[in-house]
Symmetry: C2
């Protein structure tokens, strides 16, 4: 695990004034990476680092003098717009650049004059996917979610015997992962035959749902045939973003056996634009613990470091704004709050070790979804399937509207941040999407 250093000092201030606002997501302690271009253009993506309400344009920044000799080469792929190539350089490169960016953006930095012209207001940019995603895997680490959903699909057998041993995961669709803000077209598909019918239904999904997840993005990765040991695993995680794995529950119920979800998921998955690095998350680590009576992981999924601080203490929120709320000028309503450390039965390091134990290769930019991070209570549920108790209990919104699943025009927003005594609060921004009617 990354140790704390001066880049985490809660007193550290930036010469970018907005970065010093108390509740901001992007203080100098954060420094997440993303891809941006001027809004309304089709320019090539540039790599930037969020700082306050600005983006530091790394192409422009790389052209300035003042970078140390070991830093300048790291800026070359970033200046070229290729975050994946920088991810491939591994954790040491990431940490070297973090130190340099922290110094460069700190109050009193001799680089201020040169870099001030490299800032672009976030309000004027479009943010894309943070990197090219080669492969996307979705895990299922939320044990409270797995139990609640299991009760709906398999009332007699909610949590299967493998759950506490195997970090359950499956492959998702990389081509339909979209950046926050992309509208989500309601999917059409088959549904189980209605009672008494012999033919399946077909039409727009009537049970469109969200899934509150984190996305772990891979750094250097591994060669095919070469597993990553648990104590080397976390260094292969470049950063973390918010992730909404939109799900059509009615399509899923009919199609998912025996080979798992397919069209119920692959119409779209949304990711937030900023990759918050593992280094930025260092002050917000939590022990990996198991409830009394639960088995300890097999040796390839267990280590002292993982037990001590393998989990991520990230606060998560789900918010919804309906068309009526938007038209009335009402803010999005909070549907639920959760915490990744409390919700997740497996840590990011365990997911990497498990994914590669058979020799499977992870590549720079690959995305591992955590699975739905529901907490133990209903108020902490990360999906409408849970919040509405399988579609049976409508939720009432502040304006009196009710929801069981998502309606056309609804905007669903995920948010996340980390906050602890003695540490500077950092945030993830938002992961948002608005539902469009089916074709």
């Amino acid at each position: 695990m990354t140790t704390l250093d001066h880049t985490h000092d809660p007193e550290l201030q930036s010469w970018v004034p907005s970065a010093n606002a108390a509740e901001g997501d992007f203080p100098i302690q954060n420094l997440p990476f993303g891809r941006f271009r001027r809004a309304g253009t089709a320019e090539a993506w540039r790599i930037g680092v969020a700082i306050g309400d600005q983006v530091l344009d790394l192409r422009a920044a790389a052209a300035q003098s003042g970078w140390a000799a070991d830093v300048a080469p790291l800026l070359v792929p970033l200046a070229a717009g290729d975050l994946n190539a920088f991810m491939a350089l591994g954790g040491a490169a990431r940490r070297t650049l973090r130190q340099a960016l922290s110094q460069a953006l700190a109050a009193g930095s001799p680089q201020q004059a040169a870099l001030a012209g490299c800032l672009v207001p976030q309000a004027g940019v479009e943010l894309g996917l943070p990197c090219r995603i080669g492969d996307y895997t979705d895990f299922y680490v939320g044990i409270h979610h797995a139990t609640a959903v299991g009760k709906i699909f398999r009332p007699d057998n909610p949590l299967l015997p493998n759950y506490k041993w195997v970090p359950i995961g499956y492959h998702g669709r990389a081509s339909s992962v979209v950046p926050s803000g992309t509208p989500i077209r309601r999917p059409r598909g088959q549904t189980a035959p209605a009672a008494g019918a012999s033919t399946p239904g077909f039409g727009p999904s009537q049970r469109l749902d969200l899934e509150l997840e984190l996305g772990y993005f891979i750094g250097a990765g591994n060669a095919l045939g070469t597993p990553i040991a648990i104590d080397d695993a976390e260094d292969q995680v470049f950063g973390v973003a918010l992730f909404n794995d939109w799900s059509a529950r009615d399509l899923q119920a009919w199609e998912y056996q025996p080979l798992g979800p397919f069209l119920a998921k692959n119409f779209a998955s949304s990711v937030s634009p900023w990759l918050v690095t593992l280094e930025a998350l260092a002050p917000f680590r939590a022990p990996f613990t198991r409830p009394d009576g639960d088995p300890q992981p097999l040796p390839y999924l267990d280590s002292a470091a993982n037990r001590a601080a393998g989990a991520l203490d990230i606060q998560l929120q789900v918010l919804l704004q309906t068309t009526a709320m938007r038209e009335a000028g009402m803010a999005p309503a909070l549907l639920s709050t959760s915490n990744a450390a409390q919700a997740a039965y497996w840590t990011p390091a365990q997911l990497v070790a498990h994914h590669t134990v058979n020799g499977c290769n992870l590549q720079p930019g690959d995305l591992l979804g955590s699975g739905t991070l529901s907490g133990p209570t209903l108020a902490q549920a990360g999906s409408l399937l849970e919040l509405s108790q399988g579609g049976k209990q409508p939720i009432t919104l502040p304006n009196g509207e009710t929801r069981v699943f998502l309606q056309d025009g609804d905007t669903l927003i995920l948010a996340g941040h980390c906050e602890r005594p003695g540490a500077r609060r950092i945030g993830f921004g938002h992961c948002a999407g608005t539902v469009l009617p089916a074709l």
Copy 2:
């Protein structure tokens, strides 16, 4: 469907003498695309077309004069080594180039002198993956396989109620798709607790298996949110290759519920090097039929053209050569033979229409695995799981060795060809891999 034209004329001969051999896979009627480089080098991949025992180097060929004005631009991406960019141009471009290549390689062609210097012997090249594979989906269209395997995993419920309505599919791992000839490292992983044990097993898979599949490679594809109608679907298939979806049955049995296979599959999948185009397969089409009493597909999966000729009449073979056989100079032994048209319950067009009906986007070079193409009898089984009847009945090889599942050192080979009265036989080459011991 592509109509027959002079490129399919069984009497057509090439000025490349080896292309005219009676039993060869690559006569002038075939013209499949692949990526090659000089063996033993790390040169950039070039695009080539197989002709007899030669490869026509399209970079070298593009530099020759004699191409028509509508053909020369099509050669630009191919000369640059980017088959995906050519795939993105769609079916019309593919057909135009087929006509031009057929004329150029035909006996008596005025281009013979110029192109003779653009041939490279296949014996001197390494063949890579035929293109970049962005996403890989595996289907499950082999109804005899699904029934046989279902009996092993779910004796009371072999074929689930959705099977005859939904072309069952799931996402696979693109990063671990490897070209024919790549050694396959035996995977390690968890297995179900032994009888009386409370802890899962862990170690090298003891039930390593093959799956005899076809790989359908996508051409132009579709934009996210825009389904492909069944009558437009087949034109989105660029070509077909042999595909072995290696499987660790013991890992699969423990991990696959509720979200499907994962580590049991993603350690490796092998693909043959040559993409045989849909145009080359035009003489080998078969009707799509359903057994009496089975339901007809829903409208989005049904069309007159698909019913008339949606299936592919491709002969398939599974061969095995053990270490002892290799050392004794024995040829690989035939384990089974099958036919894609008889084995598949769904056509390629139906897979494309289903995959996109919810708006999921397919991109140039994406791979759709057919699923295991077992015929109705045991001698037509496309996996050892079936051939050994769930691991209970060892197979005896010609040298007296027996096999239940694959042993270290075994070389597994898939082969395929098309043969019909009145048509020139064409072949797919081989898809081979040798099992390495676990780490």
